[in-house]
Point group: C2
Chain length 195, copies 2
DNA sequence: TGACAATCTGACCGATCGGTCAGGGTCTGA
DNA sequence: TCAGACCCTGACCGATCGGTCAGATTGTCA
């Protein structure tokens, strides 16, 4: 009954994604995943070191893109940081909304795990950039509302097509974000109309 | 060692609130709560029928206010519904942000429990009102982003004083919400362009 | 043919969970 | 004095969890 390694490996991954999306990470047991694949729990743990490794492999592509966005953000300040963070995060959230849905509401605990420690830092930098690196409480609060809200909305609207979700989120962000005073004489980037 | 019932009852409630806020509902065991109180787990279950009853009592005031907001919303349409929903929800979220923090990320599973079934319906009506009862995807998406984001921000900024959090959220909502056409002279709503 | 690695499994482990239960104190009021 | 209500507890329960392990099976290749 032994199948090619890649085959079973992929099947487990796909089954895990399906189960996680329905019952969440913690709410899904290795037994659940094994049952969905049609193998034993021991087989799941033969292909993956542990449950966390399974999640990590599932999230890897999204994390890579998040990392890349973080890189693009370094050095940017004020409105420029705000702009890149906003568009970059909306793109990321829309593209990986299945992955976001997997973690629905489990971010806090999961990010506390050492394997995802750096994600916490990245998201803090992202939030800071979203606020245009402003210290104003209003800006910081708005940044968190939008980042958290966009994540949740993407997780909720997994079935809404990209080309409907993305423009709606961008328009909302453009409306909601207060332009921050630019450090340089950053031209006021008046593309506030639709794009 | 027997204390007055109300005393222990209250101590358990307070300890549970503290633990839930740190480790979440599912992440907190009855043993944890008992340890914090300084009693046995059996004592916790003597004062509360089960773990869920403990949570229910903790959330009761917030749920009552949510229910009241829902009542105020019935019959309102368009911009009026939007206005009441926005201000009402911001007030509620700011006032009960400790309670919101308790459930951090566990809303989906908890709302699935029969004891909280009607909360799900209320929050759907609230979201609908927040969107001004509009069918436009953009409005529905924005409503979800703001509702979820406000909840998350309130949970995150438990230590920010009310009079700083509330105006910031209201200003954000005012910026972010697109005014909806009034319900009376329903024009043919040809807003197929941007927005 | 036989050695070897890869794949897979049932049985098992320790830990933890929410919850039950019989019974031991303590207080009160008839 | 004593019955009974109230408060509290340790011991225990069945279920479930993530994870381990020895060994069976299979495919490959010298």
């Amino acid at each position: 009954m032994a199948r090619a390694v890649s085959e079973t490996h992929g099947e487990i991954l796909a089954a895990a994604a399906r189960r996680f999306a329905v019952t969440g990470y913690r709410g899904t047991s290795l037994q659940d995943i094994a049952r969905e694949v049609g193998c034993s729990k021991a087989t799941v743990l033969y292909h993956f070191a542990n449950k966390e490794a399974l999640l990590a492999e599932l999230m890897a592509p999204a994390i890579a893109v998040l990392q890349e966005l973080d890189d693009r953000l370094t050095g940017l300040t004020g409105g420029a940081a705000q702009q890149v963070a906003a568009v970059g995060f909306v793109d990321l959230a829309v593209r990986f909304r299945r992955e976001i849905a997997l973690l629905r509401g489990e971010f806090p605990e999961l990010l506390a795990q050492p394997a995802f420690a750096h994600i916490q830092q990245i998201s803090e930098r992202l939030r800071d950039a979203f606020a245009g690196h402003s210290d104003r409480p209003g800006a910081r609060i708005a940044a968190l509302v939008l980042l958290a809200g966009i994540s949740e909305a993407c997780a909720e609207f997994v079935d809404v097509p990209d080309d409907e979700l993305r423009p709606a989120l961008l328009a909302l962000v453009r409306r909601a974000v207060e332009p921050v005073e630019s450090p340089q004489p950053q031209p006021p980037t008046t593309e506030d109309k639709e794009s």
